[in-house]
Amino acid sequence: MNYYHHFSILLIAFVASILVFGNIDQVFDSIYAQTQEDSGDPIYPYAVLHKIEMSVQKIEKSGGGGDLYGYQLDQHLLFNSNTGEFLNNITKKYSPGPTIPGPSLLIEEGDSVELTLKNPDNTGAPGMVSIHVHGIHYSIASDGTLGMLNGLRDEGVKPGQSIKYHWTAGPGTAGTWPYHDHTLGFSLGHSNAPGTNMNGAETIGLFGTLVIDSPTGKTVGLIDGKPTKIEIADISKDILCYVTDDAFWCDQIDYNNNAMRTALWENPTIGLKDGDLVRFHLYGMGTDFHIFELTGYQWLEPGTTNIISKKKFGPLENHVFTIEGKNGVAEYRDILTSHLLSGMKGEFIVDSVGESFPGKSPSN
């Protein structure tokens, strides 16, 4: 995240919000303030062009049962969208190697993305793979689907090939969105038509998260039991978890540590410093539905002021909420009986250190 660059706009937004909105009632107005103007499209003076290179890599598993696949962040460069000026190289903010979930991409409304996906000759998937993203704007040529669906062409890559996707975080795209493989059977070397044995790579590791932050720099969280507007800049950690049919697969962005990503893998121990704000981004993936619970915590149902302590969601539905850490050990879990019994849970530890501990990774 290009916070340093955007600090000024965040500050302006923050000050503006205090000036304009004396009352927390108006948080939602603030969120939509910009989009409710009738004066045409908003202008994003600090829009960033993200040039991202990713590849698909095999994550080999010993002991049989089949390998997994992961997206790997190879390069992430920032440019000024308007001037073309090079701003930064944030490649080192990502975990090295392929991860599950894939690299957590963090951009802001107004930004655009040029994403190049490679399927390396020897180390990648045996068949075609792609990236289909939700939420953000893109033309049909960047849908990441097969030609038989989009009527245009196969928007994926076979071994040795690369493909470039163009995304634009236009107005109204702020939110947390998934990206994932959409080539269905092609990814494992099958050549079947849709609807036919498309045992794809979507469920075996090829998924990740795109976070588009609101240009207002604000979100809403439940703090001390009250719905409260929050400066996104005040959030210490983003925890991004895919809830698959058998595990939580998590990634972390730590803003106390220069927005570094840490692959937390399977059912990790999530750490947070006492009193810090954490934003959870949860996604379903696969075939099962889930009921998420974080013991001892309540949060806001997205887009409402309803205070909830459980949330049911299904594949590719998102659930995003921000809370303040309370000293102690809580458990995040899927309370559906068979999921809970098979170990879909982990600890959420809030203490003075705030360190997260990765869970089991497929390669160990």
Binding site: G63, I100, I291, G303, T304, K360
Partner: protein, 1072 residues
């Protein structure tokens, strides 16, 4: 898919209320800024109060219309009576023609002052009709809108035919709807609905909701509604909508409809292409009528009604409805954008369609998908009639080209063609279409998860194989474009079979195709005799499995097997024959065959055998199945346990506690494990363990219970607390690592030392070997070993070093070294490719294996020393379950069950007791129906009355006492067993001429008192002290022996039972 139903209902109830209240608020205030943060708690409370006050005033409004309409049938009559302005509606049965609909004017003649508070009055009459394929659909008969004095007939808006979804009833907020619905039996009901809350709601029939009787009620708000357009949340006038799409998500199919700007409706049927021009304002209504889904539309995002949340994927289940407004191609442009259910298995099962956005002004139209309609060919009526007669000539009646199969728990109707029996009296699981057609599946009559998977198909056919990676709840839809035979199965319950024949009208015969491909990859080329034999066997099995009249009934003095096979001319490649000839010739060519009379074995067994007569139907429950107890000392049926109080569903497999008091029973087409008292048949406990629990086994060391969950991805571990007769579920041990493809374990076994479990993984064609001991990593997958196709059941050598796995679809037995985890050998079963082996236990002394081959109906005896088949014995159709029990005086009986017969076959694997099984023979048979007195009363204990399929469906077999190595040592001394039977490991080592308990050790110097005891006093009654010592020794040594050599373990030297307990305490004991 593993949703706890109660919890789900509660939660969804809450969600529904939340959705409705927030929608209400939105509509009234016409603003997205409704979520006031300060009074959030108060808001919830107040909205509840609103609901309550409405509830007392007028009941109908406060209830979700879905529920309301479903439950309204009887209550509505009272409601109507109490409303003065309405005349009482005749609620008696009668066709529309004989009971005219009340006209709007009649309503007008009884005006009530309260009416004026409301808007217009819509009087609507819809009628349920049966479609040619057996699905149901609503047709609009009349829609009259009364607005004050003016009356407008809106009927012309609707299609003249019955459609799925049914007509969408569009109303404005505060309108009144008087809905007359005539159900499929002609029964007319009337309901009054006041449209207080704007939004989209569902109406549906009391029956057949999953088969098409559903439609939408769209209540448009009086004011504008918020929507995200061009990146902004703006207020949209409903009148500005250019198109509306109604999509119902049912099974794994979208059923669509379009409403144009003039409110004219057009059916779009299944998975349609929705057409719009760029930037046209369109509204989607997404509704669920069966199963859980998540709706996703590519490249568009929208405001979740009642919130400020922008989403692009939404949970839809039978309780929920969702609507949203988008501009077509908003900021993303023209294109063919996919919409689909994002549940992965549903995507695999075909649940997708296209949202085609054309350029502005291109008038891009929606394109209907395939439908159950039978198109009347306008060219000439002669063509139609000649086609009909052609169909008749070929021996079937036309159901159109769209066949819908309901997936059921009902024996012989697992794939039930809802159109009825295409071949009357022969099968309900076959569909025949001409040229090309559609097969649709819906899991609406089953309690568990399944897959819809191609078993065979015409070679090269498009869209084949149809398959899913995991089991699920839902359905499937697939177009069959190439003539020939298609057979579908459930990979979880592989005897569930549904067939489709796509007939080429150009040939006179019914076409099976040029060549067929099996899902194992095997090509069935009709020019090869072996392929013809396989095809014949598979099809014969299809007609046996799917027709209870074709099951072998051994009751009666001179049992006869009548096989009903249709006499139809068929064509398979260039081969032209009659189906009956083709199927019957390999088994003698006759459709009536005498069956052998029941001959009980001459020598008695020890104890009793419990058989799951899984298809038996009883009077007081809807689901099939019972456990049948055979006393094997005098070969009579003593008890049947059907457990109607829990509607026991397809009991598949059993095990017991070490004391042999409690029988654990899996319910395979459900998600429950049941415990009943072996002595009384009384139900003790019934608990949810996970979907499709297949086999159950205990750990011989600590008596923990392990249940393979074939509809999940692991094995449930439980214990049974005898003090309160309750199960306690401890955990589910995954049988694959996270992220790997789901395994669906079926028939596990545990090594006699209790340290390792091996599961057969249906869906991944391998086994998982799992550590169960504390010095192995408890519950960890030690290895996955690849086997043949669809491994299904396991046998274990007494030393726990070798497992035998039946590869169902490969018709092989994989011999697996439990230590190196490698395949030692693959044993081909007779008639390679045709055997389809299921249960395959090893004799307790490790001498031989008895394998039940379900397709060839044979029993293979395999010598474990050579791993070769030494004898093949005849079995019954659907030969399935095998397990060993003790023969009185020494030796063993293998008890064999068959799904499609009602007898148990008793095999003696070594009659002359010479350690060789070449002389294996059938010692006798036992009728599983039980005896009835002259007055019709059963002469056995039972908890329900058997109404059909008596004794049928033999699957799990569990002899008591359990004399398998590991478990036999725990038995009470009162059992009449020989010392050899009590000490099978020693016997095994004796046979193998190896030192006991050291099978892999060549050190012969180990002194062997146990062994010499056995040799010297084979029939002697050993005193309890010695037995205890022996058990103790066996336990210690086998335990320490199976420990990974790399791991240092404490050497246990004591030889008393107390010390055995010490060992047990070293093993994982779950905390309470």
């Amino acid at each position: 898919m593993k949703m706890n139903n109660l919890l789900k209902n509660i939660l969804m109830g809450i969600f529904a209320v939340m959705l409705l209240t927030s929608t209400l608020t939105l509509g009234v205030q016409n603003s997205i800024n409704t979520a006031k943060i300060d009074d959030s708690e108060g808001k919830k409370g107040s909205s509840m109060q609103i609901s309550k006050s409405q509830n007392t005033e007028m009941k109908l409004e406060s209830v979700h219309p879905i529920i309301q309409i479903a439950e309204a049938t009887k209550e509505i009559g009272k409601e109507i009576e109490s409303n003065e302005y309405l005349k009482k509606i005749d609620n008696t049965k009668g066709e529309l023609e004989s009971t005219p609909v009340e006209s709007a004017s009649e309503i007008g003649t009884h005006p009530n002052s309260t009416l004026s508070q409301y808007g217009k009055v819509n009087e609507v009459t819809i009628k349920a009709e049966k479609l040619p394929n057996g699905q149901y659909a609503y047709r609009m008969l009349k829609h009259v809108l009364q607005d004050g004095e003016s009356v407008e007939d809106l009927t012309k808006r609707y299609p003249k035919i019955a459609t799925i979804p049914g007509p969408s009833i569009e109303m404005t907020q505060h309108d009144v709807l008087i809905l007359h619905s005539i159900d499929e039996t002609g029964l007319k009901k009337t309901q009054e609905i006041r449209a207080e809350k704007p939004g989209t709601f569902e109406y549906y029939g009391e029956h057949y909701r999953t088969l098409g009787l559903f439609g939408a009620i769209i209540i448009n708000p009086n004011e504008k509604v918020p929507a995200q357009i061009n990146g902004k949340v703006v207020s949209v006038d409903i009148e500005d909508l250019e198109k509306q799409y109604v999509l119902f998500m049912v099974g794994s199919t979208f059923w669509g409809q379009e409403i144009d700007a003039n409110h004219n409706q057009k059916p779009l049927w299944t998975n349609p292409t929705l057409g719009a021009d760029l930037n046209q304002l369109v509204r989607f209504h997404i509704l669920g009528a069966a199963h859980q889904h998540t709706f996703h539309l590519h490249a568009h995002r929208w405001l979740d009604p009642g919130t400020t949340n922008i989403i692009d994927t939404k949970l839809i289940d039978p309780q929920s409805t969702h609507w949203f407004i988008v501009e077509a191609g908003d900021k993303v442009g023209i294109g063919t954008w996919q919409y689909h259910c994002h549940v992965f298995a549903h995507m695999e099962a075909g649940m997708m369609g296209e949202f085609k956005v054309g350029s502005a002004g291109s008038d891009t139209k929606s394109i209907p998908g395939v439908s159950p309609l039978v198109e009347v060919k306008s060219s000439s009526s002669d063509a139609q009639s000649s086609e009909d007669s052609e169909a008749l000539e070929k021996g079937f009646s036309s159901q159109g080209n769209f066949i819908t199969f309901d997936i059921t728990d009902e024996p012989g109707q697992w794939f039930r063609n809802v159109g009825g029996e295409l071949l009357p009296g022969i099968t309900n699981s076959l569909g025949i279409v001409e040229s090309k057609g559609t097969a649709q599946f819906i899991m609406s009559s089953t309690n568990t998860v399944h897959t819809i998977s191609s078993l065979l198909w015409p070679t090269g056919a498009p869209n084949m194989p149809f398959d899913q990676m995991t089991s699920y709840r839902g359905g499937g839809i697939v177009e069959l474009e190439k003539p020939g035979l298609y057979v579908f199965t459930c990979k979880i319950h592989p005897y569930m079979l549904g067939g489709m024949i796509v007939d080429d009208p150009k040939t006179e015969e019914l076409d099976l195709g040029d060549k067929l491909t099996l899902n194992t990859g095997t090509l069935l080329d009709p020019s090869e005799a072996n392929a013809l034999a396989t095809t014949s066997a598979l099809l014969r099995n299809f007609f046996i499995a799917n027709n209870p009249n074709n099951w072998q009934d051994y009751s009666g003095a001179n049992p006869i097997w009548n096989l009903e096979i249709p006499e139809m001319d068929i064509k398979f490649g260039d081969e032209k024959t009659n189906l009956k000839t083709f199927l019957l010739n390999p088994i003698g060519g006759k459709d009536t065959m005498p069956l052998n009379s029941i001959q009980t074995p001459l020598e008695p067994g020890v104890g009793e055998v419990w058989i799951n007569t899984q298809f038996e139907k009883t009077a007081n429950k809807s689901k099939p199945g019972s456990a049948t107890k055979v006393n094997v000392e005098d070969w009579i049926i003593e008890r049947k346990v059907s457990l109607p109080q829990i509607n026991m569903n397809n009991p598949h497999n059993m095990w017991s506690d070490s004391q042999q008091d409690i029988i654990y029973q899996t319910q395979w087409f459900d998600n429950r494990l049941t415990a009943f008292d072996r002595h009384t048949g009384k139900l003790l406990d019934d608990t949810k363990v996970g979907d499709a629990p297949s086999h159950v086994i205990t750990n011989p060391i600590n008596d923990l219970i392990y249940v393979a969950l074939s509809g999940e991805q692991g094995v449930a571990e439980l214990k049974f607390n005898k003090d309160n007769n309750k199960f306690e579920i401890l955990r589910i041990i995954p049988t694959q690592d996270s992220g790997q493809n789901p395994t669906s374990p079926h028939g596990p076994w545990i090594t006699p030392d209790g340290r390792k479990m091996i599961t057969t993984n249906h869906l991944t064609d391998d086994t998982s070997i799992i550590g169960l001991a504390s010095n192995l990593i408890d519950g960890e997958i030690l290895n996955r070993t690849e086997t043949g196709h669809m491994p299904i059941a396991t046998g274990m050598m007494p030393d726990g070093n070798t497992a035998y796995v039946a590869d169902f679809l490969s018709s092989t037995i994989s011999v697996i070294d439990m230590n190196s985890k490698k395949i030692l050998k693959t044993i081909d079963l007779p008639d390679k490719g045709n055997a389809l082996p299921i249960e395959t236990p090893v004799s307790p002394n490790g001498q031989y294996i008895v394998t039940a081959n379900t397709l060839t109906a044979t029993i293979a005896i395999i010598d474990t020393e050579t791993n070769t088949i030494v004898k093949t014995l005849p079995c019954d159709p659907g030969c399935h379950g095998v397990n060993f029990g003790a023969k009185e005086g020494g030796g063993y009986y293998a008890y064999v069950s068959s799904k499609f017969s009602n007898r148990m076959i008793v095999v003696d694997g070594d009659p002359n007791n010479d350690g060789k099984s070449e002389d294996a023979k059938i010692a006798g048979t036992v009728l599983l129906t039980g005896k009835y007195a002259n007055d019709g009363d059963p002469m056995f204990n039972t908890d329900d009355d058997i109404i059909k399929y008596n004794g049928m469906g033999g699957q799990g077999v569990y002899p008591i006492p359990n004399i398998n190595p590991g478990w036999v040592e725990k038995l009470d001394l009162s059992w009449n067993l020989t010392s050899e039977q009590r000490d099978p490991v020693t016997s095994f080592n004796q046979i193998n001429n190896q030192p006991p308990l050291q099978a892999n050790n060549n050190d012969d110097s180990t002194s062997n008192e146990v062994n010499s005891d056995s040799i010297q006093h084979p029939q002697e009654q050993i005193n309890p002290q010695i037995i205890e010592e022996k058990i103790s020794q066996l336990q210690q040594q086998s335990v320490s022996q199976a420990i990974d050599p790399n791991i240092v373990t404490e050497q246990v030297k004591n030889t008393t039972l107390d010390k055995l307990n010490n060992i047990i305490s070293l093993l994982p004991v779950p905390s309470p």
